[in-house]
Amino acid sequence: MKQNNHAPLRRRTVVLAVGAALASLAAAPALADPLLTIKLFRDSEVMFRDADMSRWADNYVELGVGYNSKDSVRFGQFSGLTDKGGFPIAGFNWLSRNQASDAQYWQIHGANLGLDSRKFKAEGGVQGRWDASFSFDGLKKSQTESAMFIHQGLGTSNLSLPARAWVTNPTTMNPALLQPFEIQHGRDIYRLGLKGLLGNEWDYKVSYREDRRDGTRMTGMSFAPSGEAAILPYQIDDKTQQIEAVLSYTSKLAQFQLGYNYSRFSNGLNAFTVQDPGSALGTLGRLSLAPDNDHHQIFATGAYRFGKTTRLSATYSYGIARQNEAFLPYSANGTTVAASTTAGLPRSSLDGKVINTLLDVALTTKPIDKMNLKVAYQYRDSDNRTPIARYAYIGRDGAAGVPVAGATIRSNAPVSTTESKLSLEGDYEIAAKTILRAGLEHSDKKYTLSDRTDTQTNKLSVELRRPISDEFLGSVGYSRTQRRGADYDKNVYFRNTYTDPVFQAGATGRLTNNPSMRSFMYADFDEDRLRAAGNWTVSETVSLQGSVDGYQQKMRGPNCGQFSDALQPLAVTAALSGTCLGRESADGGSMSLDLQYQPEENLTTFAFANFSQTGVRETGRVWTRGNASGALETNNWNGDMIYRDHTVGFGLKWQPEEKWDFGGTYVLNRGTGMSGVTTNAGTAQPVPDTWNRLHTLQLFAKWDYSKQLSWRFNYLYENLNSYDWALSDVGATSNVNVLFTGQQAPRYSNHVFGVSAVVKSW
């Protein structure tokens, strides 16, 4: 593994952050509340706890201009500000509320109206009787501009080739055929809402939401007969509609809700069809796109208070998720491929159905003055009633000569799960403001058609919160989670879907799937977590918060290298070492330190630093099908994947005099990903680190020219630099098997300026 050699930069960053924090600490009195920044600079709002809310409470119209210094799709990933040049700044808020008598109100609000990502909302009604609302959110998601493609029809769901694109593989392709294409899509969200009262104790709420998406995203795709793959842009054109209706009853002792949720996804496209760039025959490849589906759910929630301190609540929900989109044929190539004409579909569509049921009952009580208890039971059932049928497995549309029996027949394997969970939690005030909390949880989960038939998980947690002094509150907590379960049968899925060649007469090969693999979502594990936190109010103007936490998870089999499967050939059993494969362990932790300093009401400063690390250790073994020797492979391997993040930030808001506001924030995220792979043979070569540095600096100022007119000035600098060995310097035509895009790890450096006038009043 390549070591991280950026310590000097890290030190500089920390020194920078601490220095700025100290400088802020040295600052004193008399500043003001924050400004109304243009909406593009939302990061400012996220960073400041005491964000200025006048943008949502005052009546104003804001108009101005901004300038973006560079074209960058990635910079404008969510704002829509992808192009160099000027852009309009526009927004408004208009609230009319009759506080005195009839409670009528209405409000309209618009933000970022000059950008592709923008918002509008209108609401009104009579408070205490009814409210109606409509909103629109337009959101742009931009991925990259550095990708290039050879196909024609980019942006549609049918891509064709100008000519046979390569001779034998992508490396023989003429690079001049590559054309750049920006990958981005938009999401428009429309919401309608109506709620009101039905007397003193009943109320209702009805809402409708519709999401429309269009544009492109990237996908991989493999082809036959060329046997090659390519990364391509596929078209998005879909809609999601959601309805919620809730009837509620509320009294002092009891509350109750009865509701219905409906969600429907409709895809305007069902397939993405592409000419095999390596086929002289113009063979097609085709991907199925997300199928139409819907989900209905009814739910009832209620609670009742017994006496002053005991409360019983219960929730029941019943939902049906369905999907019945017509299947695509096995092949897009019709009679050009023999297999596609000989293998008939067992069904024309899936008729998939999953019934989800939830029952949750909880009792909370206060048996004695200083104690709180909660006991809860939860039952979850996901009953997958999708019909099972046998389908021909034809790897790619152009694959020819595929038999329709034996190893190429697959049955689908819809998984059902049932989980019962019982938990007991409580806290006790063992001394003044010193609270001891503890919890126990037992979960029993059952699966069908999965690696295990059932697992049991137990969790114990304890936490102590104690004031060290009037100014310092500390807490420390620990939890241990343990999962155990039935014997592991890794191949149940395969056995239920087709007959592995290893079971065929005379076969001496090995199972398709290594039986020592322990998928972490099923495997036994022990997990320990420790957390400590402190909150120190140094003075009325200074506070410090710090926390540290860590966890370690170790997977534990069970019975790796053994079979519970009586059908298993002995030759295979002998080949197993007893070592579990897959995730072997996971660990991680984070440290965080925050400083807030507010010497006066008009000055807010903060600084923070956060370090986090997560790691996963994996074990693998080369598993060669057809190797009948029974000997262990010699080049077993381990992988240690470690991800480190440093995030530092600081900022201030300041009003030096009545008419002026200033402020700014700076945040640096520095991430490093290390992938260390070692083999028993000792021949592994190091994998370079991946890394990114994201700097965000924002400065803003406001000048109140008069009570009705303010001027706002904004500056945003964002710089992203990154290295990713999967993308960086990987040419589109550099590999013999995959036509890449030439997409590079994201990099940009953008300056954005904005000036706007805000006219207030009404």
């Binding site: 408070q127 997300a290 989900h295 899936l350 389908y391 497995y393 979502m521």
Partner: protein, 327 residues
């Protein structure tokens, strides 16, 4: 190199401005607020104070809130009783309790029955709020994580402000980050939801007042149900399911943000190799540095989209031949 220098110059210039701002604050220090406070105390002692807002002037922004609408019979303004005889004070006692003793001797501490914020105990604060607001999502407040950790309503909500920051998508996160520092750091990573752009608030997924979700106080019953609110295209049920995707999106994704797009916890192919080691195919390969050369025989499985170069249907496939999530 020049680009790096320019970058740090820009940062340094920004820092200089920030620090200059802080230092300038020293020079403009004012003491007028202290003088005002002394004057108010004097008036209280002489019995001149007739209204809450005479001392608590900054808090009267509540008059612009929904709580102050007289036409709504449920509000403190409509239902409350003025303790001072001043109609402006009608709503104060509704939440703070009987303030008569406090009005007589405002300098004596401990006479306000319900003190909101960090100075007061959480339970009486929450009782005051829940006496009207136990409905809706607050049905699950008792026993919720925030209730168990002794958070009060005022820990997150600002009742006197004309607009409560935690109720606005753009500003909500700043409130949550008061405690959830790790989440704030994650939000500044390279691959995130658009929270910083104001389009994705914490409450889009999380029910801060408690819920029946399996974990994480989510808005819906499960992680996946919550994700399907915006990503319904992944709901299926598919003909060929991918178990971890069907079970829990967070097996692979960290929805708060990572530096591995799209919000992955571990890079592919190592992400996949946590569960896959097959003889047919290639998921058992030790992807070391030698496989990164584009001419390597394994490069097509680690470069670009790695495993997803071919097995792109990682959330499930509905193609009749999609058993290996390739179609």
């Amino acid at each position: 190199m020049n680009q790096t220098i320019r970058k740090y110059r820009a940062v340094a210039a920004g820092l200089a401005l920030l620090i200059a701002g802080g230092l300038a604050g020293i020079a403009t220090a004012q003491t007028t607020q202290k003088a005002d406070a002394a004057a108010t105390r004097s008036r209280a002692e002489s019995g001149e104070i007739k209204s809450c807002v005479e001392c608590h002037e900054g808090f009267y922004a509540i008059a612009r809130t929904k709580h102050a609408v007289k036409g709504d019979a449920r509000t403190p303004e409509a239902a409350g009783t003025s303790l001072t005889g001043n109609p402006e004070d009608k709503m104060c006692g509704s939440c703070h309790g009987d303030l008569a003793a406090h009005l007589k001797t405002p300098r004596v501490k401990g006479l306000v029955p319900v003190v909101f914020g960090k100075k007061g105990a959480a339970e009486p604060q929450n009782e005051a709020c829940l006496s009207c607001h136990q409905s809706g999502s607050r049905i699950h407040w008792q026993g919720s994580k925030h209730e168990q950790t002794k958070q009060s309503c005022a820990s997150c909500h600002r009742l006197h402000a004309p607009k409560d920051p935690v109720m606005v998508a753009e500003t909500q996160a700043s409130v949550c980050f008061d405690c959830h520092k790790d989440r704030r750091a994650e939000l500044h990573r390279v691959s995130t939801h658009p929270t910083k752009n104001g389009f994705f608030s914490c409450s889009a997924c999380h029910a801060s007042h408690g819920s029946t979700a399996q974990r994480g106080s989510l808005q819906k019953n499960t992680v996946n149900e919550t994700c399907y609110t915006c990503h319904a295209q992944l709901r299926g049920p598919f003909l060929w399911e991918h178990r971890p995707s069907q079970d829990d999106c967070t097996h692979c994704h960290n929805p708060h943000g990572t530096n591995i797009a799209p919000m992955l916890k571990v890079r592919m192919p190592y992400l996949c190799q946590q569960c896959h080691s097959t003889a047919i195919g290639h998921s058992n390969v030790a992807f070391d540095g030698s496989t990164l050369a584009p001419t390597s025989g394994s490069a097509q499985r680690i470069l670009g989209n790695a495993c997803a170069n071919c097995h792109m249907k990682v959330h499930g496939s509905n193609h009749p031949s999609g058993a290996r999530l390739q179609r």
